[in-house]
């Protein structure tokens, strides 16, 4: 337990450093963006007086380090300021939209993990048969197709032509199917390739051969021993993929009019909504850190021999 506490302490310190760094980078980065946020927010017809007033309320006249300090001070109180574009609290806007992003990322990851592992196992256990070729082909297609293009094609097929599923929005459970399949496609490809490669690796190792020799059935060998051992790197990929889906679903969210924070971030970058950009990026970074820790912890569940603090 002491080792575990040490490990967690170490992780915590590293995480806090990462987050402070990200916060500083984003505070600095947004101020390097060309364009006057006050003018963008006020619109073309606004008078200069109004533009100046908005600029002053954004507090952009202060030194960078002061702005960073103020941002951190607010953060300690659970406050990320007000959106310059909407004048609403950044925290509440993020809380409204984050669940949708999480939902989509979970669904995409679930599809990626389930389909990907099944395909990978099928391919590895039937190596060099048509099953292997087929799944490998599907896998490489999955990682090669631009997702937003796939998304548009899926909308036309399933929403317009067949009329089976909603084209866009986030209303019914069925609204989730097309976007999650769209973003899950890449994960399917990645996970199945990883599963196949690792499983083949493990299947070639001595203890699996020994198990075979002891007369255990194929299926038992595969699931009990091989898969468990092959799973660790696969889990890493799934964890990383989940993180990528959180941030990488930007274009998918646009195509499917999905109200996640990825789209909000892009809108905010285009609108130069500094407080919102800062808030979202920091949210992403926090999720990234949490996902990493959870992935690590899951290693020990999948394979009790793994000791994080060994």
């Amino acid at each position: 337990m002491r080792g575990f506490a040490l490990y967690m302490g170490h992780r915590l310190v590293a995480s806090v450093i990462t987050l402070l760094g990200v916060a500083f980078i984003v505070v600095a980065l947004v101020r390097l963006l060309p364009g006057d946020p006050a003018r963008v927010i006020a619109g073309l017809q606004a008078g200069q007086e109004e533009v100046d007033r908005i600029r002053a309320t954004l507090g952009l006249d202060r030194p960078l380090l002061v702005q960073y300090g103020l941002f951190l001070e607010d953060l300690v109180h659970g406050d990320m300021g007000e959106s310059a574009r909407t004048n609403n609290s950044v925290v509440s806007e993020i809380l409204t939209r984050l669940p949708f992003t999480l939902e989509l990322a979970f669904a995409g990851t679930a599809i990626g993990a389930a389909v990907g592992i099944l395909m990978g196992v099928a391919a590895a256990t039937r190596r060099a048969t048509w099953v292997d070729h087929l799944t490998s082909t599907v896998a490489v297609i999955g990682v090669s197709i631009p997702v937003y293009w796939l998304g548009i094609l899926l909308i036309i097929l399933f929403a317009v032509n067949l009329q089976w599923l909603p084209a866009a929005g986030a209303e019914h459970l069925s609204s989730l199917i097309l976007p999650s399949f769209t973003i899950g496609m890449f994960s399917v490809g990645l996970v199945s390739r990883m599963t196949r490669a690792n499983l083949l690796d493990v299947l070639g190792q001595d203890y699996v051969r020994t198990a075979h020799a002891k007369g255990l059935t194929d299926r038992f060998v595969i699931y009990k021993h091989a898969l468990r051992n092959a799973f660790i790197p696969v889990l890493t990929v799934i964890g990383l993929q989940f993180g990528t889906l959180l941030g990488g679903a930007v274009l998918t969210e646009s195509v499917f009019a999905w109200p996640g924070i990825g789209r909000l971030l892009v809108d905010s970058i285009f609108a130069r909504d500094f407080p919102m950009i800062q808030g979202i990026v920091l949210t992403y970074a926090t999720m990234f850190v949490v996902v990493n820790v959870i992935t690590d912890l899951l290693y020990t569940v999948v394979d009790p021999r793994v000791r994080l603090y060994g």
């Binding site: 963006l33 060309p34 364009g35 006057d36 946020p37 003018r39 963008v40 927010i41 006020a42 619109g43 073309l44 017809q45 606004a46 008078g47 200069q48 007086e49 109004e50 533009v51 007033r53 908005i54 309320t57 574009r85 909407t86 004048n87 609403n88 809380l95 409204t96 939209r97 984050l98 669940p99 949708f100 939902e103 548009i152 909308i155 036309i156 929403a159 317009v160 009329q163 909603p166 084209a167 866009a168 929005g169 986030a170 209303e171 019914h172 459970l173 069925s174 609204s175 646009s254 195509v255 499917f256 009019a257 999905w258 109200p259 789209r263 909000l264 809108d267 285009f270 609108a271 130069r272």
Partner: protein, 538 residues
């Protein structure tokens, strides 16, 4: 499961629909049809009470930045809020100004006071009456510099607001303002219930739940997703057909078209322009291409040689084949400009046309002694209909008369930072810009041609300066005689047209596509749709 999912509940209290199996949804629909068929509803022509038939879904392209009338900067956002918030005067389809919450108004002889008489028996959605105090509250708020009002400039002529009696308001003006009735029709001057301004998450400085007097009550807005309205049955005017109106916020044009074709939206704005013809021809959909007030042009930096030579600027105008552009690139959703101002704007007069004439262009350039002219042509991407594509095509036109125009684009924020700046900081030699007057009055369009509106004071980015125009416009802006006023503006327009500070482009039209099973879809000439009285055909 998560907090946000609770808010997915319909305001009517129905269960979240996303967990319900399809079969159950079908059964419910069937049940509602049966119920509807078996009871006779009192209101004539009413459909079933279920959500299926009585909800009007409209897909629009942008997320709302605010629902506070005073903070409006975007026409489409204002268009949405208009469903529940009304104004004192109203813009009519023919671009005239008619009565709104004020049933009449008069302007004093000297033009220094405007007295408005309010409609009787109008109540806000929270039940409070619309009276003179409420109007005063709203106009005072509009003028209060503690509140962020980007388009305040149009109202600063109001010195103070006087409550004469319960239903009469007097505005005392610092100088005559013939444009004020028009300004009061803008959504910025929308009237909300004063008592609501501190409730339901609202604050004096930021309204997030507008409570107006309109035909629909605002129910909810979920960022990036949708805005929901419910019919207000105590509305003072004609009652609309649909019980619910849902605006779906769908950024991609192709996705909006998919929603329309799949029957998930009854109406969409700005479908992909290349599909207008097909949508028009399809038996399932209809298209309305509404006239609008937005002029699209290429601002020429008139301070920079050789663009300071009028002949060069005219040459560029002759070089561009506006008609081919409008036909092939806009698919009819634009009309070439024949004046520096769009026809719906009050004060418009036709001034002529620079018909496509590359020969003439070459000749004028030669006269001006210009050869091998190389310029940069800035354009935004996706801000206006086919903007980048049009800039690309225009550079092709210019190349044919020996002008090498290199197109450069960037995102909108960077773009205005590169263009809405003083002459010496301009990033491009010439740039594409669209201008929609804040309200349909010539004074608003002339901001593009007045010396005192050069950046950074305003956004007259061609730095055009003509003393004659300046004085004509200054006179017209305060002229109370409508005919005289029109004549002054028209004279100024003719001078501007001849001086050619822009490559005069086109008036962008406003395409709306809707299901052919509905009728009653209309428009207002300021890039707004008017679908409040939409209903099923038959």
């Amino acid at each position: 499961m998560t907090p946000a999912k609770d808010s997915r509940n319909d305001p009517s209290g129905a269960k979240p629909r996303h967990r319900r199996p399809r079969r159950a949804a079908g059964a419910l629909l069937l049940a509602s049809v049966v119920v509807a068929a078996s009871c006779t509803t009192g209101e004539g022509g009413e459909g079933p009470q279920g959500q299926g038939d009585n909800t009007f879904d409209i897909a629009i392209g942008i997320d709302l930045d605010t629902v506070d009338p005073a903070q409006m900067t975007t026409t489409t956002v204002a268009n949405v809020v208009d469903y529940s918030v009304e104004t004192l005067t109203k813009l009519k389809k023919d671009a005239g100004i008619g009565p709104g919450l004020a049933r009449s108004w008069e302007v004093s002889e000297d033009g220094r006071t405007m007295t408005l008489r309010l409609r009787d028996g109008v109540t806000f959605h929270d039940g409070t009456p619309l009276d003179a105090e409420a109007v005063k509250y709203n106009l005072d708020r509009l003028l209060d510099t503690d509140v962020e009002v980007p388009q305040r400039a149009a109202y600063t002529v109001i010195d103070n607001v006087e409550v004469v009696d319960d239903s009469t308001v007097r505005l005392n003006l610092s100088n005559p303002s013939p444009a004020l009735p028009s300004a009061l029709s803008a959504s910025t001057a929308g009237i909300i219930s004063p008592t609501s301004a501190e409730k339901r998450g609202n604050s004096y400085k930021n309204i997030t739940h507008p409570v107006g007097t309109g035909p629909y009550t605002f129910q909810s807005f979920r960022s990036g997703d949708r805005v929901v309205f419910q019919r207000y049955d105590a509305y003072w005017g004609r009652k609309p057909h649909y019980r619910r109106v849902v605006f779906r916020l769908t950024p991609e044009a192709a996705t909006r078209e998919s929603q329309l074709r799949a029957g998930q939206a009854e109406m969409i704005i700005l479908p992909p322009v290349s599909d207008l013809k097909a949508l028009q021809q399809s038996p399932d959909t209809d298209v309305l291409i509404a006239p609008s007030d937005r002029t699209i042009f290429i601002a020429l930096d008139t301070t920079e040689p050789p663009l300071d030579d009028k002949r060069v600027r005219q040459a560029l105008n002759y070089a561009v084949d506006k008609k081919a552009l409008v036909d092939n690139l806009m698919f009819g959703a634009a009309k070439p400009l024949d004046s520096p101002m769009a026809p719906p704007v009050d004060g418009y007069c036709r001034t002529g046309g620079y018909d496509y004439d590359p020969q003439r262009a070459r000749q004028l350039l030669a006269e001006a002694g210009v050869r091998d002219l190389s310029i940069t042509l800035g354009t935004p991407t996706g801000r206006y209909l086919q903007d980048k594509q049009a800039a690309d095509a225009i550079s092709g036109n210019l190349r044919e008369v020996g002008v090498n125009a290199q197109v450069q684009t960037t995102d909108w924020a960077s773009y205005i930072a590169a263009t809405a700046v003083p002459a010496e900081q301009q990033k491009y030699d010439v740039h594409v810009l669209g201008w929609a007057p804040a309200f349909l009055d010539a004074s608003q369009q002339f901001q593009q041609f007045q010396t005192d509106q050069h950046p950074p004071a305003g956004l007259a980015t061609s730095f055009y300066s003509n003393k004659e125009v300046d004085s004509l416009v200054a006179d017209a802006n305060q002229e109370l005689d409508a005919q005289k006023r029109d004549r002054l503006y028209c004279d100024a327009l003719k001078i501007v047209w001849d001086d050619a500070p822009w490559i005069f482009g086109w008036v962008q039209q406003f395409p709306i596509a809707y299901s052919s099973s509905i009728t009653g879809v209309s428009y207002l000439p300021n890039e707004k749709f008017d679908a409040i009285y939409a209903r099923p055909k038959g």
